[in-house]
Symmetry: C2
Subunit: 346 residues, 2 copies
DNA sequence: GTTAGCACTCAGAGCTTTAGAGTGCTAACG
DNA sequence: CGTTAGCACTCTAAAGCTCTGAGTGCTAAC
């Protein structure tokens, strides 16, 4: 593959930019007029022909303008992924909203989702931070009735799980407090595997405690298996306005993808697992796990504390999305969430 | 207004039924053929003219079939709201899914939302159970760092809230356990108002405890103000397949309504507040709070324990929805959730 | 290497035509 | 008098048609 000339790079970027803006195939004459290029439309036509040849652009039909291909977008994005800061003003505004938010990981995540959907005018997708293998932070046991217990589990990364369980033995809140104290001493900071081994050599604490540990383990296994916490989504209505979703079949496929939480979680956890915190990645729909969302793309970053607890934040929209705005926005929000995870010390 | 004749009622019901099935204006000839009526299309035409006169039906244009008006739907639904059981088989199937579900209010609610969306092929909307004024069930305090605390609040109805707080005084987990014990003894079963008064005459427990109580109260106020817990929604993709949503502007309005959580919560809590648990109501879009979702309707029921903690479960779809299936489904699921709320004893 | 000029292409907007489903009315029927 | 067959009339939606204009590739001149 031959290198692109400087001028070709410029023209390719401008085509992408213009297409993102208008959603219409971009013609040579128009491009020259819009951007006051100091060469003529015929020259642009020649370069466009070359870019089309090299698969960066394509033509919907012979006598139409050019549309970027996936390869074209990739080129465009690769120039964007490193640099670009969000304008000071926007950063201030976002930070302000976080400073006013109610405390708690859940609230922050929802706020981030809401801000991102708003800024990007597309669908935001945010998953709660979770370590590869969950560790227990705190166990709380609450007596509901004589033989019924509510177990609340605080996990690393600020995630919570609640389970009801029934025990055969009557247990009082005082007894539960004791059990909880013991378990907290033993299990704090441990993961499912460690707890499984530890619990084998435990002094007998009665059948209730056994039942509690069993439930605890099954909850941890569940969480480990999911690998990604709750996924929040917002801004679906925004993206319906885009022309690529005016075909409702297209829109349905995308929404089904979003509502298939396991699929989405799988994708988020798998594809970004090795990714360093802070780095923004762009995925293009069409093949692999994203085959259902052809001509969409996904800008994601991992946030949190590397090796401790990480989640993902991203924006899903038509492939023709405003990368130059969305990439810095995602990066900035990932940074904020990372700070919050670190500060909350979970 | 004159009463409808028996035959008119039959015809009206059939028109609604047929229109729900096909989404096309219903013509006289077709109706006779489909349902083997023992009178002719001319007779049906006459009756239809009368029903149109009386505003139960309308014509998109002079030479088209009839479409039910909102009044027509109301009539149809009024005959359905009381009776009709879900088929034994479906009930078994649903019960089975619940029996296999993981424990915990959150999980049940999501399961209910998922089943309902699936059964109705429309959008399900389920809100968590919450009393008019929340009462505290259990307070758990977890030391994160020296001066940072995670407060977990279990509220009546099984809802949980988490907050982070910073205190100026160094506090250990042991101290926190003591404070939590005291607060639990004092505040269990109390609502925000009672706690506010109680906390005035409290023995001094140090500045950390004060800060904790302040956060506790503000969380309770927040929750009271919202009046409805988290709202889960599922099945958006299903409804996009309906012809009334092929116009993306229409679809957007509906989705915006759904994503405006405060609006939705407000509607759910306000309009069904007085409603007895178990009764199914049908709301038609177009005016009042539902003005944004013209030609949609909402079948809802309240579930939970009257006066203790109630939530809502419902299905939102095109006004042309399968009421005869959806109404019993909503009623049945509301029943199951009510049982679960009762059993979990919160 | 660049550019003006030109013949050619083709999607989409706008218009016309047509088919058929549905109506209301009238007159005949039991 | 309610019911029904028959008929002229209405009106949408689909199909076919034309025409415009943006865009192209190529050639020849600069």
């Amino acid at each position: 593959m031959i290198e692109l000339s400087e001028r070709q790079k410029v023209i390719l970027s401008l085509v992408v930019h213009e297409y993102v803006r208008t959603a219409n195939p971009v013609g040579s004459k128009n491009l020259v007029r819009q951007y006051h290029l100091d060469y003529s439309s015929a020259t642009v036509r020649n370069e466009m022909a070359a870019l089309t040849e090299a698969q960066y652009l394509s033509q919907p039909h012979t006598s139409a303008g050019r549309v970027p291909t996936e390869k074209g977008y990739r080129f465009f994005v690769s120039g964007l992924i490193q640099m670009r800061e969000l304008p000071e003003e926007t950063r201030r505004m976002i930070e302000h909203q976080f400073s006013q938010a109610q405390q708690g990981m859940d609230g922050w995540i929802k706020l981030a989702a809401s801000i991102l959907a708003d800024q990007a005018n597309a669908i935001s997708v945010v998953s709660a931070p979770l370590p590869n293998r969950t560790t227990v932070k705190y166990i709380s046991l609450i007596s509901i009735t004589n033989k019924q217990i509510l177990m609340i589990l605080v996990l690393a990364g600020g995630q919570m799980q609640q389970r009801f369980l029934f025990v055969s033995e009557v247990t009082t809140q005082t007894q539960l407090n004791e059990i909880a104290d013991t378990l907290n001493r033993l299990f704090e900071g441990r993961n499912s595997e460690e707890i499984r081994i530890l619990s084998r050599h435990l002094p007998d604490m009665g059948s209730a405690a056994e039942e509690i540990i069993r439930t605890l383990l099954s909850t941890l296994y569940d969480t480990d298996a999911r690998q990604t916490g709750e996924v929040y989504t917002e801004g679906i209505n925004k993206v319906l306005a885009e022309p690529e979703f005016s075909d409702s079949e297209e829109a349905r496929r995308t929404l089904r993808f979003l509502e298939e939480k396991p699929l989405l979680q799988d994708f988020l956890s798998r594809t970004t697992r090795e990714q360093k915190v802070g780095g923004v990645q762009v995925f293009f729909g069409g093949d692999g796990l994203l085959k259902d969302i052809a001509n969409c793309s996904l800008v994601v970053a991992r946030y949190g504390m590397q090796g401790i607890a990480t989640g993902t934040i991203g924006v899903l929209g038509p492939m023709r999305m405003a990368y130059s705005k969305n990439i810095p926005t995602v990066r900035f929000l990932a940074g904020i969430l990372s700070d919050l995870v670190a500060d909350s010390g979970l």
